[in-house]
């Protein structure tokens, strides 16, 4: 029982990171209809900023979010300027395909630039209080993991509020629906695109920071996180941004349970099989009203 709970809890913790990693992708995909394969590279870059803050400034990784987020937000702005801006006005499927390709190329560039800048060595951040935490009837809840979960929850709620309740948020949704109409409503769509993309990048950066101190970082981790994030957003469902969190948690728990009770080697398969199952019985996703 105790080990079951321990597995469950770690599944949830892992899932929280999946959730936040997917949320930025969901935002950019659901809103801009851009399938950004380079999302994982943004996660990776965020991780490096956090690593740098820790190793040279000695900042706590939770504190350094205050520089990680703006840094990658700016990277997002720049990437939008030089790359994504040019495809965002294309239509429907065309745009999705082109974005797939452009971001694949961009992913190569970012990954290899990171390789040149930071070398291929794995990096990670180990805080002095790593491993400390709550012990509830033998189930361990490390502070770092709890804080991660908490931040993910807060970010999710804030994002939801922003999109649904504020004018700039609604402008983002409107632009996603029909950019010309949005222009005709007086929305500066160029800015909306830029902000949305940068916001997505900032979310990726948060994920990157968590990845860095929970697991590890290397220039090549991008693709893994893109794949995970894509699976999560499909689980969550079309256009569901908030749904990325529960979907991420679900994936995390399924993988952890499969790892503990089926076979550790097949746990990713278990996650993917659940994913395919959901796709087939509920193609609109789990967290979307039909």
């Amino acid at each position: 029982m105790q080990s079951f709970m321990q597995t469950l809890v770690f599944g949830i913790f892992a899932g929280a990171i999946y959730g936040i990693a997917a949320m930025g992708l969901a935002l950019v995909f659901g809103v801009l209809k851009i399938l950004n394969i380079a999302h994982g590279e943004l996660v990776m870059l965020g991780g490096y900023v956090g690593f740098w803050a820790f190793s040279t400034l000695g900042w706590d990784p939770f504190l350094s979010l205050i520089i990680v987020i703006p840094a990658i937000f700016i990277v997002g702005l720049i990437l939008d300027r030089i790359v994504y801006r040019h495809i965002v006005r294309q239509l429907g499927e065309e745009k999705i395909k082109n974005s797939l390709l452009v971001s694949f190329g961009l992913g190569l560039v970012l990954q290899n630039l990171a390789q040149a800048l930071f070398t291929g060595d794995e990096r990670s951040v180990q805080v002095s209080y790593a491993g400390e935490g709550l012990n509830i009837y033998g189930v361990l809840l490390p502070w770092t993991r709890l804080a991660t979960l908490g931040i993910v929850l807060i970010v999710t709620l804030a994002l939801h509020f922003f999109l649904r309740k504020t004018y700039p948020g609604k402008a983002i949704l409107a632009t996603a629906e029909d950019y010309e109409s949005a222009e005709l409503a007086g929305i500066n769509i160029g800015r909306v695109y830029m902000m949305t993309f940068a916001l997505g990048a900032a979310l990726a950066a948060i994920a990157g920071q968590f990845v860095t101190f929970t697991y590890s970082l290397a220039p090549s981790i991008g693709m893994t996180w893109t794949l995970k994030a894509m699976i999560v957003i499909v689980l969550a469902g079309t256009g569901s941004i908030l749904g990325a969190l529960p979907a991420g948690l679900l994936l995390g728990v399924v993988e952890a349970m499969a790892g503990a009770y089926l076979a550790q080697t097949y746990k990713e398969v278990a996650g993917l099989v659940i994913f395919l199952f959901v796709l087939i019985v509920r193609p609109q996703g789990l967290f979307v009203r039909k």
Binding site: S3, Q6, T7, F10, G11, A14, S55, Q111, N112, Q115, T119, G120, D121, E122, R123, S124, V125, Q126, S128, A130, G131, G133, L140, P142, R145, T214, Y215, S216, A218, P219, S220, I221, T224, E255, A256, G259, A260, A263, Q264, T265, Y266, K267, E268
Partner: protein, 405 residues
Amino acid sequence: GGEETTTTTLATGTTATTTVSSTETTGTTEPLPATIKVGAVIPLTGKYSGLGEQVKNGYELAVAEINAAGGVDVGGTKVPLELSILDDESDATKTVQQLETHSSNGVVAYLGGAGSDLHAAAAGIAEKNKIAYVGIAFALYTGVMDQGYKYVFSPFPKSQDMAETIFDLLDSFAPKPSKIVVFAEKTDWGAELTRLWTEQATTRGGYTVTAYEYAPGTTDFSALIVPAKDANAEVLLALPSGPDGLAMMKQIKELDWNASVYLLIRAPDPPTFGENLGKDSDGVFLLPGWNNGLPYAGVKEMAAAYKEKYGKPAAALTGPAYSCVQILVDAITRAASLDRDAIRDAIAATNLDTLVGNVQFKPDGTSSVGCPVNQWQGGKQALVFPADVALVPPIYPAVPWKDRQ
């Protein structure tokens, strides 16, 4: 120029005897080219790039030193080495393509990269092209060194050497630990090591071994750590890749499993391991294949030159990489020819003191070289075993997580 064109003949006779050089290749009477072309294919990008960089630096340092001294003595004439390095992006398919490129450019020998799967792909090509291949930075035996290849040489410890050394180490501890847990990566190397470890445990006696398999790329190890902890296991043996190893150690701490020995092959090798884990890296054993504190001839000089050139201490793979060049140069000199087969034969007959100790190749292309054990101590790798070369004693048992401040 002296480019040679190997046409792969369908005749099977050439494989039976290795001493007969094939008829198409040029003899020693041919005028010598301006340089000796040697081709290396190294993973400079992708998942093995961290290792690849060490290997590359080792080669480049060695070649620079040889050329600074005028080059290689080929039958009395000094000819400089021309080392051409191509990147295979840690992708075995690309390794093949790059080796073919080298071959067509007329290299006289290949130098290998890093990582078992890339070496395995490369070995077949070397064999097909009949070009000698000297490669380090992989311990996998099955599938690479057991294929009966004639052109593949590896002056680097193999899994069997590692397994023996590890159990020598465990045997040397007092009190002797008994409960071993293996986190077995589900790869051929993982299977090979798990098998060898289990064999060693049985032959030496006094050990129990439980193996848990996991897939490479796993981020969450709680499903392995929780049962290991519940069973009060004392020794962890594993061969994680870099990222897997970091995640593993972090979660061992998070889940508060206190073993006496953490012995990880591969992940703790790069210097960044200590930086990444800080004091939590302390006590982790590793078998990097080499150490810049080993008492072999030339190690000190090389370490100093390395530090001068790259601004950091010579890493574990740089020594063996340097040795590959030493072996190759020695062989070319003895062959007194740039004929590919002559070089191959000369390599097979190597008896040379190198940075990895004395190298003499067995028929399968391996060589017994030292297999030093390091341990992370105070954020640095320390040479702790075998006792005759050890610089400091090992920490045993590992300090419990709670007591590390």
